[in-house]
Every structure is written in C-alpha cells, then in structure tokens.
C-alpha cells in the first residue's frame, strides 16, 4: 500500500486550546500507521515553538518522527527569531502547504 502523506496544520496554541495536545497525538498516531506527516505551525500555532515556552509537545512530536515546520511570517509577526526556536522546529514558507495540496496529499486544518 502506498504511504499516505499528511499535512496537519496547527493554527491554535496549547495555551488557548487543550485540543492542541490531542492534535499532536493524532499526528504521531498517523505516523505510527506508516504514513509521512508534517505538522505545520501557523498563526498562534507557532507560540509554543519559542524556546522557554511550553513546548514539550512539539519536542516529543519531532522525536516521534513527525516533521515540524513553522510559518516564517507567523514567527516574524510574533517576534520569534530563528535562534529562539526549540529543537526540531524549522522555519518554512507557507508554500509547502500548496506543494502538498498540488501533490494530492491529505491536509487537515486545526
């Protein structure tokens, strides 16, 4: 069976929405099923990516085989510099979401 490719777009932060932790767990679960998963942080979803924030969820995600990207614009808008990011989170342009859709991948907005 072909490997499924998923883009999980996280626009909420765990300070406002308890559901974010479940979203991270879902992303890890999709990987466990043998799929490729990218979690793309956007809007307030980037807030836990700042070093010193409550970012254990993101760090664990990366360790569980999920690629974690953060929207460059959302980071800049919130004054989160590249040197302030927790390990495992990589700044990215939004283009990767369009790439993913154009390639026929599944995309989930949260």
């Amino acid at each position: 069976m072909a490997i499924g490719k998923y883009m999980v777009i996280a626009s909420r932060d765990p300070f406002e929405s308890r559901d974010v932790d479940q979203l991270y767990d879902l992303a890890a679960g999709i990987v466990r099923e043998g799929n490729e998963v990218t979690v793309f942080l956007v809007q307030n979803g980037v807030l836990p990516a700042r070093f010193g924030a409550r970012s254990e969820g993101l760090t664990k995600l990366s360790a569980r085989g999920v690629k974690v990207l953060a929207d460059e614009f959302s980071l800049r808008e919130r004054a989160i510099g590249g040197d302030q990011l927790v390990s495992g989170v990589t700044p990215s342009p939004l283009d990767v979401i369009v790439d993913h859709l154009a390639a026929g991948g599944k995309a989930l907005w949260h």
Binding site: Q43, L94, D95, H100, L101, A102, G104, K106, W109
Partner: protein, 135 residues
C-alpha cells in the same frame, strides 16, 4: 493537466487570522498559475461583498487614503486578476443560502452563487482540498 486545488472557507471577514492565511495560500497558488476553487460557506460569503467601505483611522492618525484599509473584496479581485495573468483561474463560489440569510447578495464581478454540490464537484476535480473551518 492543469493543477487545481480547492479551499472551503467559513470565517466572515475581519474576524479571524484564518482568513488572512487562506488568502496567502490562494495567492501562492495563483502566482503559480494553478486553478483555484474557493467555496465560501456561512460567514465567508461576506468576503466578496461589494459594499465594503474603507475608512480613515483617527487612532492611527491617518485619513482614508493614508490608511489604505484592507477590503477583502479587493483581495478577492486582485487574486482573480493574478490567477488569470498567470494562466490559471480563481473560481469563487458563494453558498447561495448562506448569502440569502445574511443579505450579502451584492458581490464583486466574477463571484458566483452555488450549492454544496459545487464544493463536492470542485473537490472531485482537484488534486487537493483544504477545509478551513470556523469556531
């Protein structure tokens, strides 16, 4: 075969960062010459409403011209133009019943009225679909 992607939007204008992110995504696709479908559902049908008006902003100390207040209807028009210039098309469909209950039938040129069947058809003809719901 041309690349086609579909978005479903639900947020009314001026209420959520989700709208801006959606426009950024549509802009990327339009610049690539992709065909882009948008199904505006519920509050999102007010996005291309023709009667949106820019205003001055005394708090910012700017008159209307200086403020250049963003109007989502202008963003839609600009993206339709960008898509066409790059060889693609932005097909914006407003859910008709959602338009009626909100009284926002007066929309900019190029926006058309449709039904949930249009969302299904557009998604079926696309490489990918992204639903951006509301809260």
């Amino acid at each position: 075969m041309a690349t086609t992607i579909t978005f479903a939007l639900m947020d009314p204008p001026y209420e959520s960062a989700r709208s801006t992110t959606a426009f950024r995504l549509i802009d990327i696709a339009a610049r690539r010459g992709y065909n882009v479908n948008v199904f505006a559902y519920e509050g999102a049908v007010a996005t291309p409403f023709a009667q949106q008006k820019a205003h001055p902003n005394a708090v910012h100390g700017r008159d209307a011209a200086q403020e250049n207040h963003p109007l989502p209807k202008d963003w839609v028009a600009a993206l339709m133009q960008a898509a066409a210039q790059n060889g693609g098309k932005l097909d914006w469909v407003n859910c008709g019943l959602c338009v009626d209950e909100r009284g926002v039938a007066e929309v900019i040129e190029g926006v058309r009225r449709g039904t949930p069947g249009d969302l299904w058809r557009m998604a079926s003809e696309s490489q990918g679909t992204l639903i951006i719901g509301t809260r």
